[in-house]
C-alpha cells in the first residue's frame, strides 16, 4: 500500500498458485492482491496451510520447479516477474529481492564455511575479486551482529548457534542491499531473546538501507511489532488487510477476531478459558463453498455457504479491506461486545 502517489515497489495482483496432486488440485493461493511501498513493512499472518509461504515463494519464482500452475501478476519496479525466464529472474533474486527462510539449520550448506557461502552470494551479483568479496562478507557479518566476524567468517555452520545461523542467513540476504526482503517465519525456530535481537536487527537495517520487508508469520506479536500493514490469510486468500494499529484495535473479520482472542496475553486480566476457533483449517483441494470461513464462523448464516465474499475496502477507511458477508454495523457491534 503506497501512501503517496508513486508506484509501489511490489504489486501482487490476483496471484493464484495451484499444485496438481494425486488427490486433486491444491489451490494454495487463490487470488491475492497486495502492494508494498519502498521502505515499508507488510506482515502476512496466517496458520499452516493458509498459503502465506507459497505466496511469498512464488514472488521469487521458487514454486516453478515444483510444477505449480501460476497466474496473476507480480509487478516489481514495473516488471512482471512471472513473465521473466529463469535467467532473468536470477538477476533479481538475491540481488534486488532477497529471502530469509524459517529454518536456519537447513538453509546453510553444512560442508562449506559460512563465509564462503556469503562470498558466493556476493560474487553471484557483483563483479568483485575474492578478497573484496571476503572483506564485504566480514563487514556484513559484523553488520548483523556476529561477534569477532573476521575469525567467525571461517567457521562451519555447525559452529554457529541457531540465532547466529539466522543472522548469517540475513547477512547473505543483505549481501547485495536488496530493495525488498521477504522473510518467511524468520524467528520461529528461535528463542524469545534471540528473536527479539533478530527483529530489532531487521528493523534497524530497514531504517539504514531503506529496504522494504514482507514478513510472513503465524505470530501476531511479531507483526504487531514489525509491520506497518497486516494482511490476514485464510485458505489461500487475504480475508482482511489494514494498517497495523487499525487491524489490532478494530479488526473486522471473524477469523481475525478468533486469532486475536485465542492467544493468551501477557497483560490484562487472565481469562478462565481461552476462546478457540472451533474446527480446524480447511482442505485446499476441496475448500468450503461460499465464504471459506463459514464452517468455523459462529456468526455464519445459511446464505454464507453460497455467497463468496470479495475483499472490499471499508467506506470509512479505504485502506482497510475485509472479505466478510456480515454488515459493517453488525461487525462493529459484535467486536465491540467482545472487548
Amino acid at each position: 500500500m503506497s501512501t503517496h502517489g508513486d508506484p509501489p515497489l511490489l504489486r501482487v495482483e490476483d496471484l493464484r498458485v495451484e499444485f496438481p496432486t494425486e488427490d486433486g488440485v491444491v489451490k494454495a493461493v487463490d487470488g491475492i492482491t497486495y502492494e508494498v511501498g519502498r521502505g515499508r513493512t507488510l506482515g502476512v499472518v496466517g496458520e499452516s496451510g493458509s498459503g502465506k509461504s507459497v505466496a511469498a515463494m512464488t514472488v521469487l519464482g521458487l514454486t516453478r520447479a515444483q510444477g505449480a500452475k501460476i497466474s496473476g501478476r507480480v509487478i516489481f519496479e514495473g516488471v512482471d516477474l512471472l513473465k521473466l525466464d529463469e535467467v532473468a529472474l536470477r538477476q533479481i533474486r538475491g540481488n534486488e529481492i532477497a529471502m530469509v527462510f524459517q529454518d536456519p539449520s537447513t538453509a546453510l550448506h553444512p560442508l562449506y564455511k559460512v563465509g564462503a557461502q556469503i562470498v558466493e552470494a556476493v560474487r553471484a551479483h557483483q563483479d568483485v575479486t575474492k578478497a573484496q568479496a571476503r572483506a564485504r562478507t566480514i563487514e556484513l557479518l559484523g553488520l548483523v551482529g556476529i561477534p569477532d566476524p573476521d575469525r567467525r567468517v571461517d567457521d562451519y555452520p555447525h559452529e554457529f548457534s541457531g540465532g547466529m545461523k539466522q543472522r548469517a542467513m540475513i547477512a547473505m540476504a543483505l549481501a547485495n542491499e536488496p530493495k525488498l526482503l521477504i522473510a518467511d517465519e524468520p524467528t520461529t525456530a528461535l528463542d524469545v531473546t534471540v528473536q527479539a535481537q533478530i527483529l530489532a536487527l531487521l528493523e534497524r537495517l530497514r531504517g539504514e538501507l531503506g529496504m522494504a520487508i514482507v514478513i510472513v508469520t503465524h505470530d501476531m506479536g511479531v507483526v504487531a511489532e514489525m509491520a506497518d500493514e497486516i494482511a490476514v490469510m485464510y485458505a489461500g486468500r487475504i480475508v482482511e488487510m489494514a494498517a497495523t494499529e487499525r487491524l489490532l484495535s478494530r479488526p473486522e473479520h471473524p477469523y481475525t477476531w478468533g486469532l486475536l482472542r485465542s492467544i493468551p496475553k501477557l497483560d490484562g486480566p487472565r481469562a478462565e478459558r481461552l476462546e478457540p476457533i472451533k474446527g480446524s483449517p480447511p482442505s485446499l483441494i476441496d475448500p468450503p463453498s461460499g465464504c471459506h470461513f463459514h464452517p468455523r464462523c459462529e456468526y455464519a448464516r445459511p446464505e454464507h455457504a453460497r455467497i463468496d465474499p470479495e475483499l472490499r475496502p471499508l467506506p470509512d477507511d479505504p485502506s482497510h479491506s475485509v472479505a466478510c458477508l456480515l454488515e459493517p454495523k453488525e461487525r462493529r457491534k459484535l467486536w465491540g461486545e467482545s472487548t
Partner: protein, 271 residues
Amino acid sequence: MSSAEPLMEVRDLQKHFSLTRGVVRARKAGAVKAVDGVSFEVLKGETLGIVGETGCGKSTTARLMMRLLEPTAGTVRFEGEDITHLKGGKLKTVRRELQMVFQDPYSSLNPRKTVGSIVGEPFAIHGLYGDRGERRGKVKELMDTVGLNPEHYNRYPHEFSGGQRQRIGVARALALGPKLLIADEPVSALDVSIQAQVLNLLRECQREMGLTLVLISHDLSVVRHMCDRVAVMYEGKIVELAENEALYGEPKHPYTKKLLAAVPGSRRRAA
C-alpha cells in the same frame, strides 16, 4: 495455594551429561550441567509452570521428575516417598501416578497402531481391564473425555490433525488416572487457533480430575494463562520462582525481566 501440601518435592537435583573424547579409549572431557542443583515443590492441585529458553534444562528437569532419566545427584520425593532410586515393580507402581504429554504429536504416537491401542496401551502394560470389551469401553470413555469421537477407535494417527493427535496424547496420559501430569511444550507444535483448544482441555481435565499439572514451555503468555506459580530456569538453575501475578507483575530477577521484555509486541504494549 501456599497452604496446600506438596505432591512432589525436588531437592538439589542435578543432571550432568559427560562429554567424552576419542572412540577407542573414550575419556571424559568435561560435563554439560543440564540441571545444576534445582529445588522446588509441586503443590497438590496447582499448575506449576517452568519457563526458559532452549538448553536451560527445563525438559531434562521434567524427565528427572518422571524418572525417565537418572539424576547425577539430588532427590525426588513423591507423596513423601523418596522415588529417586526406585527400581522394577516399585517404580512401575509410581509411574502410574506420573504421566507425561509430549511436545510433538507427530512423533510421540506410534504410526502403526490404532488410536484405540495407543490410548489402551497403559492398561495393557499395567494389566488392567483384561477383558477386551471392558478395555474398549474404558478407552472410548477416555476418548470422549478429551473431545475425540469414540467411533474413531480404529483409526490411525495420520488420519488426525495435529490438535486431535495431541488430544490422543492427553487421553493416553490420563488413562491410569495419574496424580501428576507433566506437559512438556504441549502446544508449541500446534497452530494458534488449535493451541487454545488443547490448553482449555488440559485445564478442564485438571479441574475435573483434581490433577496436579506441571507445564513446561518457552511461551511466557501460555504459562501466564495456565499457571498458579512459575519457575524461571536459566543455565540449569531456577533463577526465580513466584506466584503468577508476582512474577509477571513485578519480576525480580534480571533474566526474568529480559525474557518478558523480549516477547514480541511488548514494546508496543509499553508504548
